[in-house]
Subunit: 211 residues, 2 copies
């Protein structure tokens, strides 16, 4: 558990030596195994030895690709998020107000997570448990989430105020998911929380009495 983090981990996209085809395939197998095990039993069910076995890769290799279980699960989340962003793009929310559209988008994402609650558990727990050594990857997830929300708002040039609102919405989104996953809040409660926080958007939407 010594997190002395050799600075060697590489993020998903940026300038790492390009992977060969077999390497790309390995990476994909690993992520697939991870998601599959997570879907079964959540965070605890994703055991590194099992991931390695399922993906036909030696344990040491698994650790070369993903330097920790948290890295692996955060990468799994990146993967799923990309997928979801694609899906959401196809059917843009139909609400009038930006707040409505964001709430609808997040509820749509929430419903998707409900279909695989164990997977959601694994990903979200990893995300919030991640320490500094995973910051770049977590940040990437955060940017992706921001992109989804801004998409829903339909904004080209968000004001700083609006970006703050988006940050708060993300905070609420993550934390509300946690309370749901740990059984301390109902689905209905999460819905209310999301709708409540989305009202912040209205607060920043119209700058009528402004310079």
């Amino acid at each position: 558990m010594n997190k002395v983090a050799k600075v060697e981990a590489r993020a998903a996209a940026p300038a790492s030596p390009p992977l060969t085809e077999r390497q790309e395939a390995r990476r994909r197998r690993i992520l697939h195994a991870s998601a599959q095990l997570a879907s079964r039993g959540g965070f605890d069910a994703v055991q590194m030895r099992e991931v390695a076995e399922s993906s036909q890769v030696a344990l040491g290799t698994l650790y070369r690709y993903f330097p920790s279980k948290i890295h692996l699960l955060v990468a799994t989340m990146q993967d799923q998020l990309e997928h979801m962003h694609g899906t959401l793009r196809k059917k843009p929310p139909r609400g009038e107000a930006a707040a409505e559209r964001v709430a609808e988008t997040l509820m749509r994402a929430f419903r998707a997570l409900q279909r695989e609650p164990h997977l959601a558990d694994a990903m979200v727990r990893a995300l919030t448990f991640a320490d500094r050594s995973v910051s770049p990857e977590v940040d990437q997830v955060s940017r992706q989430t921001t992109a989804i929300i801004l998409d829903a708002m339909g904004l080209e040039h968000p004001t700083p105020e609006q970006l703050s609102a988006v940050r708060v919405i993300e905070h609420t989104w993550h934390s509300a998911l946690i309370t749901w996953l740990s059984g301390r809040a109902s689905i209905a409660q999460v819905k209310i929380d999301i709708e409540t926080v989305c009202r912040l958007i209205d607060l920043t939407a119209e700058p009528p009495a402004d310079s």
Copy 2:
């Protein structure tokens, strides 16, 4: 790691067989050791064997008092929160609007956490990582936090809307702390997020056009 959770863990306050003096003392020693180790090196530095040794208690006993490391750290948080609520009570915030007062209170709490960032790390990470087996204890922490915020708002009978706002504020508070602890947000950024979310209070403060 089998979390088959024997239903046996007892919460802090409710009807558990009252502890003898020596037991109370042991419990206190354990919590003290936990906080002390956490203050040094955060979550990772709180090692059960060390906690046991520091508090002069056998490992098995430690586990009898706190059925997991997470339980221990959440209990540590309860302890610290109580302390903080007491402190905050003494000097109520002086702002005009409820939103101001809440933001000021939270920033005060935040500054306290900054004084012991490692301790904050251990407690907050435990809190958000906790699974269902810790729900009662986490809920208690949540209630305590809610009480602090309502105190700052100065409300006797909060409306459901206001309670929703408080929930969202708590979400933001926890999540913002996480981003700060993992080095993805600055202190200034956390301040902005808190102030932003507190504006929600204004939204629910005046029900002028109401039945």
